[in-house]
């Protein structure tokens, strides 16, 4: 899992059945100080997260299918939690 920030929303009307009634959000992974943010992606929301929230994202298909309870869902990343606080004693 990774920690990311929700930066946007995606609206799709025509999409795979597994996406129905689920929100798609744009997530930017958090980076170490000095690194340039890159590699943003789209994740399915399962936690009612919104723009600006810091979220926990599972980027693995099998875990995503378990969260959605759909063995055929073509989903690779799903938001599984909203981060309240992070405690990092020291960064290398």
């Amino acid at each position: 899992m990774i920690i990311g920030k929700v930066t946007g929303t995606v609206v799709t009307t025509l999409s795979h059945a597994a996406f129905k009634h689920r929100r798609l959000l744009v997530v930017q992974p958090l980076t170490l100080p000095g690194e340039k943010p890159s590699g943003d992606f789209i994740a399915l929301d399962s936690t009612q997260a919104g723009v600006g929230d810091t979220v926990l994202v599972n980027r693995e298909g099998n875990g995503a299918r378990q969260v959605l309870a759909n063995p055929d869902a073509p989903v690779t990343s799903v938001i599984v939690g909203i981060v309240d606080s992070l405690s990092i004693p020291e960064l290398d």
Binding site: I3, K5, T7, G8, T9, V10, V11, T12, T13, L14, S15, H16, F19, L24, V26, Q28, P29, L30, T31, L32, P33, E35, P37, S38, G39, D40, F41, I42, A43, L44, V51, G52, D53, T54, G61, A64, D72, A73, P74, V75, T76, S77, I82, V83, D84, S85, L86, S87, I88, P89, E90, L91
Partner: protein, 106 residues
């Protein structure tokens, strides 16, 4: 999952048997600012996308799951949604760095 812009159509007559009937599209992967990421790729279409359409794409094994019938096909990129509306906050709006110590987010 990532964004992709449909650039064209790929036609293949001889292909893996279970891929018969699959529509293959040439797509340009994009980031959330809709800037190109890497080169053109070929994706299987499941949402009837057309040239110029902005789509959501699934990569790896999950792309094969998007196909309606056979789930074991050698496919690693699929268009799974057509984007109607996209709202992304500008870069300066959020701080994306991890901080030493305790950071509260809510």
């Amino acid at each position: 999952m990532i964004f992709g812009r449909v650039r064209g159509v790929a036609i293949s007559t001889i292909k893996y048997p279970d891929m018969a009937g699959c529509r293959l599209l040439v797509v340009q992967p994009l980031n959330s600012k809709l800037e190109p990421v890497g080169g053109l790729q070929v994706a299987v279409d499941v949402v009837e996308a057309g040239e110029g359409d902005l789509c959501v794409m699934a990569r790896s094994r999950e792309a094969a799951l998007a196909l309606p019938d056979v789930k074991f096909v050698p496919v690693d990129l699929a268009l799974v949604g057509l984007v109607d509306e996209l709202q992304v906050r500008p870069d300066g709006d959020f701080d994306f760095t991890l901080k030493v110590g305790t950071a509260r987010y809510s």
